[in-house]
């Protein structure tokens, strides 16, 4: 029996919404895959493209950036900046041939524990058939 591939996901979660949403999923005892390495950031707008590239470089099979819904940003407009930047990075990574499924963005509010688990479940399901990410990985 071959062991099923378990993708490693690095998730940049904003402190005010998505991270709180993941906490809610946790304290509510919702079940979701344990493939995520969460990194709390102050705002999705603070996620530099370099963080994302670096996560791939250090062996992430998928990267998720998650922030507050538009209009809900604790810093008023951080998530709008993020939306623009991530759109560009997504196009760039697609252009150089990285599978577009490996890089995701989501809006998850502090009340959406259920949505958080759904996002992760979907992401894991999409990553499993792709196998390990070796393209951008150091020594990969």
């Amino acid at each position: 029996m071959t062991e099923e591939f378990e993708p490693k996901i690095v998730a940049f979660l904003c402190k005010w919404c998505s991270s709180a949403g993941s906490d809610l999923a946790g304290v509510s005892r919702m079940e979701y895959p344990s493939n995520v390495i969460p990194i709390q950031v102050l705002c999705s707008g603070s996620v530099s493209p370099l963080y994302i590239l670096s996560a791939f470089n250090k062996g992430a099979d998928g990267v998720l950036v998650s922030g507050c819904h538009p209009g809900d940003c604790h810093y008023i407009k951080g998530n709008y900046y993020s939306r623009r930047r991530i759109a560009l990075l997504k196009e760039l990574l697609n252009f150089i041939g990285l599978e577009p499924e490996r890089f995701k963005m989501s809006w998850v509010s502090a009340a959406e524990g259920t949505k958080y688990t759904e996002v992760i479940k979907e992401f894991v399901d999409e990553l499993k058939p792709l196998g390990a990410q070796t393209k951008l990985r150091r020594n990969g």
Partner: protein, 343 residues
């Protein structure tokens, strides 16, 4: 078409009158035919000034040095620097103005129009004139160049030897200038992003194979970064010391600084470097393609920047280097920005 004598006269006027401290322009090299950047401090030096289709360099790059030099001086000469600027280069001036890196009164812009053609691509010229010794290339009124070799003069259709970026150019004459030579020249290329199409139509696997081969060649000489007028950061993520160190910076802090990219020119590290550079130039790159020209390893770097230029236009309707009053691409947003990719 720009008359060289007019350009020299304009340059002389401002240098003699003391309006500018010096002029950045082009001159002939000691050997060969491709013009090189030149710094003219005295009016009599200006006899060496040239303007022809080999003036490929984006001289706006040297405004970075000027700014850094001025910062180090106690009583700097506040007069502007004269600079010869093509259409594409003029948009680079605009981006620097938009980002408040320079002030309008820091530069005196001698705008030159490329007319119906543009700049030659040295690789194409070498291929076309295999083994022949070229002494001069000149503009013509029509869409061709006159090339002088040891065997005489020949007229060459521009399309055969000029740079790909010039076929996609929409600003053949400067959009900002103090004097404009050669008149306004409007160009409407059929497909301003045509060179990207072949690449975009490839499968993910083919795209990866292409870029893996190309970027693995990189020897990390950083010529692409160094020649870029937009790469003016004091600290760059790829440098071994990528943060400001002061005499009182404690050792622990130095030791704990993150090393984002290793010095090894391996595929993974080269990708980080080139991806970061491309993203940093989104909404700032004016497609002067100097990075690609400078690259000693023939990596088609322009593609990366052109792709992001295309997406900025498509997704955010953003044009680079025309309006100095609008906020830059990634420090602004619109409510209607696309978010169909977000879950």
């Amino acid at each position: 078409m720009v008359a060289l004598e007019d350009l020299k006269q304009e340059a002389k006027n401002v240098l003699e009158g003391g309006t500018v401290k010096y002029i950045i322009g082009y001159k002939k090299p000691a050997v060969g035919f491709m013009a090189v950047p030149a710094f003219f401090h005295k009016p009599e030096d200006l006899d060496a000034l040239v303007w022809d289709p080999t003036c490929v360099h984006n001289l706006v790059l040297f405004l970075k040095d000027e700014k850094k030099k001025k910062l180090g001086q106690k009583e700097p000469d506040e007069r502007p620097v004269g600079i010869v600027v093509k259409g594409c280069d003029s948009r680079a001036v605009n981006v620097l103005l938009q980002e408040n890196y320079i002030d309008r009164e820091n530069v005196y812009i001698l705008g030159v129009s490329c007319g119906k053609t543009g700049m030659v691509d040295l690789k194409k010229v070498r291929k076309y004139f295999k083994g022949k010794i070229i002494s001069q290339i000149d503009f013509n009124e029509n869409e061709s160049f006159t090339v002088t070799t040891t065997e005489g003069k020949v007229e060459v259709p521009a399309a055969d030897i000029f740079a790909v970026r010039c076929t996609e150019c929409i600003t053949a004459s400067p959009v900002i200038h103090d004097v404009l030579l050669g008149g306004d020249s409007v160009r409407t290329p059929e497909n301003p992003f045509g060179s990207l199409e072949e690449m975009e139509s490839k499968s993910q696997g083919q795209k990866w194979d292409f870029w893996q081969e190309q970027l693995t060649k990189c020897i990390r000489c950083y010529a692409c970064r160094s020649i870029c007028p937009m790469c003016y950061c004091d600290e760059c993520v790829v440098d071994t010391i990528n943060f400001a160190v002061y005499p009182d910076t404690p050792a622990e802090e130095k030791a704990q600084k993150i090393k984002w990219v290793e010095k090894s020119p391996t595929t993974s590290e080269n990708f980080i470097y080139h991806m970061v550079r491309a993203i940093h130039l989104a909404g700032r790159c004016v497609d002067c393609a100097e990075c690609e020209r400078a690259c000693p390893m023939d990596i088609p770097l322009r593609f990366l920047n052109k792709k992001l230029e295309k997406e900025s236009k498509k997704l955010f309707d953003y044009d680079v280097g025309y309006d100095t009053e609008i906020p830059s691409l990634i420090s602004s947003f619109r409510d209607e920005d696309p978010e169909d990719f977000i879950r």
